[in-house]
Amino acid sequence: MSTLPLNISRKAAEHSTLLLLILVVVLFGSLGEGFLTMRNFVNILIQVSGLTIVAAGMTLVLITAGIDLSVGSIMFLAGVVSGKLVDGGLSIWLAMPAILLVGAGMGFVNGLSIVRFRIIPFIVTLATLYMGRGLGLYISETRAVNLPDSFLAIGSLKIMGIPLPVIIMVAVLLVLHLLLTRTPFGRQLYAIGNSRVKSEKAGIRVSSLLLKVYVISGLCAAIGGFVAIAQLGAVSPSFGSQSEFTAIAAAVLGGTSLFGGRGAVFPGTFIGALLIQTIQNGLVIINADPYLYPLITASLIFFIVLIDSRHR
């Protein structure tokens, strides 16, 4: 089997992103005061937690050679539903299962359409992207949902000195990392991504696995959305839009292949997300021309994907 070249390319991709991350940190550290501080480091970790969680779920989908364009809409829908529930008098701890339910439900619809009706993931999740956002806007009446302070309290909660968003991120990363590397489930995901036909022949229950993967991605999107809104204190009608692209970019920067069969949640996707967030953070700290942000971010992503492709 061709595990050897795969391994090398994965290492190379991870390292090129890691190297770039170090370069970016050194660069901003020398340019901007207040960048290389413990506070700012914690800051970046908190800011990146939402994105990392969503991108981690996306990584699993990408490994199976699928794609989930609906994550941004799921983040939004989960946020709106929880906001409305808490506004309606429900306690925030009871709203939590509702968020998970929304994520799992949307993921289930995605998965079911993909495995039962055999529609390709791109189309299914494009459709649920439309529908999820439409539904969220319908529930919120297109208004921004201002959340009660209990949300912000959770967002700034610290357990043993570690901020809760970071704890949730680490927990999700740990679970998914173990799932991918230590269980038959994980190994089968890579197999499906490498060749669906061969996996089916080898007796892997592809349908049931894919269904689970999309449910996991939906769950991650909902959790990531929750972590983000717990810091924002509000759900704006544009919340999460284009997040699917950022999540995909983070996963791909972390060495995950869009063609399936290759990828890792940790360190891969985590490093990818960290790179994106660090650039955003650094540009603000050095007070760069706001118009230049997308140009710089896009160029760096292009550069990394280019290096990754060279090594393949």
Binding site: I120, I123, T128, M131, G134, T297, I301
Partner: protein
Amino acid sequence: MVSIKYYLSQNSIVGVCILYYVLMALVVPGFFGANNTWNLVYNFIPLLILAIGQTFVILTAGIDLSITSIVAVASVVGGYLMSADSGLFSSPLITVLVGITGMVLAGAIIGLINGIAVTRLRMPAFMVTLTSLMFFSGLAIWLTQSKSIYNLPTLLVDAPYKTLLGLPYPVYLAGLVYLVSYLILNKTLVGEWIYAVGTNVKTSWLSGVNITSTIVFVYIISGVCASLGAMIYTARLETGSPVMGQNVLLDVIGAVIIGGTSLFGGKGKLQWTAAGALLMTMLDNSLNLLGMSFFLIMIVKGAIILLTALFNQYQPKSLVHA
């Protein structure tokens, strides 16, 4: 009768379009009539042109997410070249000709960059065009510092309403794009290559298809189509804008998909795309006339994309199905 039935079974989206039009004409006040028909045509044309370009790319199993950024860049470039504020040329005719050339060139160049990145640099089309989307949208906004460009020549802004033999100019533009695309896809070697690359890269390479130039070519076509769409948007809004067309991406891809063109490449027809784009236009128009909010229209569009995909899934398969 049998042949019509056969045609519709092979081109179900056309039947769906006709059915939808008839139903809406019966049910929605203001839908049927010369006024709204022209309205539909005007809204349909730019979407059609963008979707035709996208069809070329998708036929090779690629995707072009960057079209909205191309629309923005072309609109800004054209706006700058033609605006009386920059006053580059004195003759209006030369101004418009230079402007259009500039727009098409801008689209072709971005398409070329996409194509080279996908072929020579062997990067995945999704990521290439995604970074193009981010980069060139940002570039258009940065170049203009977010300011729209106006004072465009009357020759350009009146063009959408001028008629020749009873038909407005944009109809001819769309007709020309469709005709040229049809000839390329069905009557030339390049057209065969495009389908071949989409069906199977390896066998097409073995049978002597120049894969690199074929793929670069489709991205250039997509870029040029996007800039032609930008021309209509720019003319009818009388503005060169760096955020022009930023929301049409999903409608364009949706139109191609509900037409039935396969995202795996090799399978698809121009008339499917045209019907898909028409259905998207009619959905917007009819639901709008019914006073439906945009978020409800979004839900309906999503449902239609899903249902048509489902429907295509259970169609009698043609010989070349993916």
